[in-house]
Symmetry: D3
Amino acid sequence: MEEDVKILIINPNSDEEMTQAIQKGADGYTRGDFDAVCVSTPGGPKYIETYEDMALAAPGMMELVRRHEKEYDAFIIACHCDPNIELLKEITKKPVVGIGESSMKLASMLGHRFSVVSIGTHSIPNKEAVIRKYHLEGYLASVRASDDSGCGYNEAAMLTEIARKAVDEDMAEVIVLGCAGMAGLDKDMQDELGVPVIDGVVSALMIAGGLVRHGLSTSKVRRYSPEY
Amino acid sequence: MEEDVKILIINPNSDEEMTQAIQKGADGYTRGDFDAVCVSTPGGPKYIETYEDMALAAPGMMELVRRHEKEYDAFIIACHCDPNIELLKEITKKPVVGIGESSMKLASMLGHRFSVVSIGTHSIPNKEAVIRKYHLEGYLASVRASDDSGCGYNEAAMLTEIARKAVDEDMAEVIVLGCAGMAGLDKDMQDELGVPVIDGVVSALMIAGGLVRHGLSTSKVRRYSPEY
Amino acid sequence: MEEDVKILIINPNSDEEMTQAIQKGADGYTRGDFDAVCVSTPGGPKYIETYEDMALAAPGMMELVRRHEKEYDAFIIACHCDPNIELLKEITKKPVVGIGESSMKLASMLGHRFSVVSIGTHSIPNKEAVIRKYHLEGYLASVRASDDSGCGYNEAAMLTEIARKAVDEDMAEVIVLGCAGMAGLDKDMQDELGVPVIDGVVSALMIAGGLVRHGLSTSKVRRYSPEY
Amino acid sequence: MEEDVKILIINPNSDEEMTQAIQKGADGYTRGDFDAVCVSTPGGPKYIETYEDMALAAPGMMELVRRHEKEYDAFIIACHCDPNIELLKEITKKPVVGIGESSMKLASMLGHRFSVVSIGTHSIPNKEAVIRKYHLEGYLASVRASDDSGCGYNEAAMLTEIARKAVDEDMAEVIVLGCAGMAGLDKDMQDELGVPVIDGVVSALMIAGGLVRHGLSTSKVRRYSPEY
Amino acid sequence: MEEDVKILIINPNSDEEMTQAIQKGADGYTRGDFDAVCVSTPGGPKYIETYEDMALAAPGMMELVRRHEKEYDAFIIACHCDPNIELLKEITKKPVVGIGESSMKLASMLGHRFSVVSIGTHSIPNKEAVIRKYHLEGYLASVRASDDSGCGYNEAAMLTEIARKAVDEDMAEVIVLGCAGMAGLDKDMQDELGVPVIDGVVSALMIAGGLVRHGLSTSKVRRYSPEY
Amino acid sequence: MEEDVKILIINPNSDEEMTQAIQKGADGYTRGDFDAVCVSTPGGPKYIETYEDMALAAPGMMELVRRHEKEYDAFIIACHCDPNIELLKEITKKPVVGIGESSMKLASMLGHRFSVVSIGTHSIPNKEAVIRKYHLEGYLASVRASDDSGCGYNEAAMLTEIARKAVDEDMAEVIVLGCAGMAGLDKDMQDELGVPVIDGVVSALMIAGGLVRHGLSTSKVRRYSPEY
C-alpha cells in the first residue's frame, strides 16, 4: 500500500554531495516501500550555518514546496536547525516535518535525557534556541560540538568520541545527530556507544510516513494559516 | 517488507469490548501491512481510572511483555495515562510506546497548542500530571472533560462539542483523544472541527512501527536499565 | 551631543502610510535631538502578518542594513513580531533592536504583568511564540486581540476597550501596543486606562539610543557571528 | 497528648535489617512521645532499585495500609523515591507522607539549593524524575551518587565525601539523604559538613505528626479520590 | 519532652487584636504541649499590606529576634507574605519559618493544586510574586481575593464562598488561608468545603516544632550567612 | 532638551568613595546632556552585602526618594542586587530603575546568554535569587565570583580573568558587571574580552532617561500602589 506515499526531502542547501548522502540515508530506511526523494534547494547556500544561510534558503524552499505540492504527500526539512519550518508549515496543507523537531522529540521517548552532537561551538547557542523553541530543555543533557566548523559527514570517530563524553559526563541516555549530513552514521555509533543514536532524516521519515498514512497534517486554524 | 513487523497492543484493562474497539482502530491504520494485535491484560481492572487500577494492571502487563517478548517487536500501552510505562520500558529491550506520550508529542508537531478531551473532571489533574511528566505544559491549551465518568467510546457528539470549546475558547489548534476507547472517532471529529484530531493508538503505531523498522529502542544505559 | 546619533527604523513592510505613522511616532520621541529615519522595506509585503510575509521581507531588510551600515549607528525593526531579528543581529556589528523585544522587556520593568493588544486572533499564537522566545511568559498577563485582521492604526477606541479588559480581567498592569502601526496611540490610551501603555518604536529608540551612546552592540562571539 | 498519635512507617522492601535501621532512626526522633512503627512490606522486593521493584512492592503496601487503616493515624513511605505514593494517597483517607517529598521540600526551606546524595549512578535519572514531579528542579544543586549500587547504610565516610563535593562544587547549602537506609547518619554528617543534613524518615515524621495533630489529610476532591 | 520547646511567633504588625487571634490559633495547635508565644512587632505598622509596611516592620522584627534569640528555639513570621524572611534567616542561627512558605509547601503535599484566598485584589500580584519565589507556580490553581481590603478575620462566610469558587472553577484541591489574621477559620471552612484548608500559623508550628526537635536550622554556608 | 532631565542615583550604602566612582561612571554616560547626581544613603551600611545591609538601607533610601521626589524625574538604585526596589517603585510615582534589572535585561538583548561577574562566592546564591525574580534564568550562562569578598572597584584584571572563563567555559556571550562599584571598568574589559560588557549604572541611565523623556513610569494599578 505504501508504494503510493511520496515524500520530498528538502536539503535546504545546494550541496549535491550532502543531498546524495541524505538520499542514501533515506533509502536505507524506506527500502523501496515508499518514495522519498531528496533534492537540493535551488539558490540555497553552500551550507546552512548562519541565520543568513537560512534566509537565503527560504525562497528556494518555498518554491520547491509550491512546485511539488500536488506531487508529494509530505515535506521534510533536512537540516537539523529546521530552517523556515514555520514558513513551510504555513504555506502548504501537506505535512511538514523538520529533522530537528522529529529527532529530538523521538529521543525524548527513548531515554531520560538526550545530547545533540554537532560541529563547531558556534552551533551550540543556535541549537539551544531551537531546543527551547520545541520545549525540550528539560530533556536535554547537553549540546556537544567539535571545535571545527563545516558540517562534516565522514567524521564518525570524532562524533563517537564527543557522544561518549555526553553519555559519561553529561548523563545523556540518547544521542541525536545534529546535522543532516551525518546521515548513515547512526548504526555504527549506536553499536559503539551502546545507547540509541537517532538520525534526523530517519526520524522525520517515520513521522511523515505515519502522518500521510493516516491523513494528518498541520492545523490550519490560526498559527499556520496562510490567510489572516 | 513490513509484513514481518509484529506489535503487541496492551489494553491495560480487561474489557474485551474496548480491546476490540482498539483492535478495530489499529486495523484501520495497519491495513494488513503489518501485524498489530490488541490483547486485554489478564487480571487487569475493568477500567483504568484510578491509581489503584494502574497498580492492579501492572502484574498482567509485565506478564504479557515477558511472555511475548520474543514474538513481538514492540509493545504499545493502550491507555492514555500510559500506566506503568517506565516499568515496561525497563523490563524489555523492545520498544515500548505509550499512546499518551506519542499522541501528545505528535500533537505538538502539528499546531501551536493542543487540548486533550477526556471523560470526567476527576481525570483532569491526573492528565495534567502526565502532561507535566512529558514536559508538554508549554504546548497545552487545556484538558477538557465531560462531567460523566466511565471511559465511553461512542460519544462522538459530546466529545466534538467539548473539543470545539477547546478550539474556540482555549485556543487549541490540535485535539488529542484522551482515552484508548475513543479509537475510531478521530476522522469524523476532524471533519467536523477542521483541526487535526489525534488518536492515541494510531500515533503509537506510527512511532512503534518506525522504531522497529530502524532498529531503535529504549536506552538501557541508566534510567530504564533493569540491572542496578 | 546626540545630534550625531543616526538610527534607521526599518518598517519591514512596504506600506508608506505605516512608514509615515512610524516616522511621526519616532519624531515625537526624538524631538530633533537625534536622527531617526523610518524607511519601508524594498520588495517587502504590504503587511507583515504571516510567516511568508516575514520571509518576503528578509532580502529587503538585509539590503537596507548593508546599504546603510556605515551611515547609521543602529537599526530598529519596526514590526512587533520582530521579523528576521536574529538575521539582522548577525549581519551587522551595529546594534539591532526589535520593537517587540524592547517594548515587552521594558514593560516587565514597569509592572507585575503586561498584556499585548493586537489585531486578529490569528496573531495570538504567533505573539505567544515570540514572547516565549524572549523568556517573558512569566511576565505575561494575556495577549488580547480584536477579531478583525489587518494592522489598523486609527482604532484607538477599540484597542482601549481591549486593553481595559486585559487590565480588569487578566490582571495586566502594563499594556504593550502589539503593532508598529499603533504608533502615537500610547499617550491617549494611557490617559484613559491609568496604566503605562508602551509603544514599540519609542521603546526601541530608548534602547538603541542608549546603546549607541555608550558603544554597546550585539555580541559577536558565537550565536550572532556571521563567520562560522 | 501525642502519645495517642500512631504512625505506620512502611519500608517498601522486605529487608528486615533496613526496617530495623529505619525504626531506630524513627525512635531517635519520636523519643517515646508518639508511636511510630516501621514494618517491612510483605512480598516486597529485597531492595527498591528498579521500577519493577516499585511495582512488586505495590500489593504489599496497599495491603498494609488497608489492614492498618483504623489502627494508625498516618502512613509514611520509607523509600526516598516514594514508590506508589499516589496510589497510597488515593486508597486511604489518612495522611500519606513520602520521605522523598517531605525531606526535599523541607530542605527547600533551609537553604538556597540542596543536593541529594545517593548510591549508584543508575539512581540519578530516577531521582531527577522524582524531583521534577515535586516541582523542585529550581531548588536542586545536584544529585550526587557513589558508583557502587546497593542501598548501603554504614557508609558514612563515603557519603560525607560525596556531600562535601556537592557543597563545595555544586553550591549545595543543604544535603538530603537519598535512601531510607541512611537513617541515623544525618547528625554526624551535619557536624562534619557544617550544613543541614536531612534524613527522610525524620522529615516525614515531622510532617505526618503535624498533619495528624491538626486533622489534615490528602484532598479527596479529584486527583486522589478512589471513586471516579 | 516537648514542654521545653519555645517558639516565638512574630506578628509583623502592631495590631494587638490580630496578635491575640494568632495566639489563640496557635494555642489550638500546641494545646500546652510546647510553648508558642505570639508578640506584636514594636514599631510595626498597623497592618502589613504594602512593601513599605514590610520595610517598616523590619527593625522591630530584627530587634525581637535578637532580644529573644537565647530564650526561644525558633521564630515564626506570622504574615502570609513572609516579610523579611531572608533577613531573619540570615541574622539568627535558630530556625525561621514563614507562614506563607510553610503553608503553601504543606498544601503542595496534600493535593494536585492549591488556591490561596486573600483580601483585596491588590494582594494578588504580591502573592504571585511570593509563590514564584518559592517555586510553587506549578502547584497553584489560583489566588482568589475579595474586593475589600484590610486583613479581616471574621469573614468566614465570604472566604468560604471565594474558596468554593477556587475548588469548583479553578480546580483547586487544597485551600490556603492567605492571612495570619484568618487563624481559626480553617476547621469550619474545611468542614463546609470538603477539602483541606491550611492555616499558616499551624503549618509553621508543625515545621518549626519538628526542626527544633531534631536540631535542624537554616544553612549558614552562603546565602543566609551574616558574614561575608 | 534633555538638560531638564534630572535623575537621582541612590547609592544604598554610605561609602563616599563608591558614590564618587558611580558619579564618575554616570558622568561618562551623561556627558553633560542631562543631570544625574549620585548620593550616598544617609544611615546606610558601609557596603551592601547581606540582607541586613539591605534592610538597614531602606529608611535612608525612602527618605531620599521622598525628600527629592519633586526635584528629580527618576531614581536609580545603584547596587546590583537592587535592594528595596519594590519598596521604591511603590512609594513614588516617578520611575525607579535598578541597575541589576536594567543591566541584565539589556544583556539579554545583546547575546544568547550572559554571565554576571561578582565578588565573593557568598554573593552567588543571592544573585541567582535576583535573576530568578526577574525571570532571567533562561538567559543566564553563570554567576562567577572571585573568592574574596568586599565590593572592590579597582580589580579590573581579576574580573577580566573571571569573565573570560565565563565566556570560554560557560558559553557566556555578554558580561554583566555585578557591582555598582565596578563602574568604569566596562570599556577596558570589553576591549580585552571581545564581548559586550555592561555596566549597571550606565544601563539604568539609558532606561531611566528614556522613561522620563517619554513620560512613562511604574504602573500604580495594583502591585506597586501605595494605597490598598
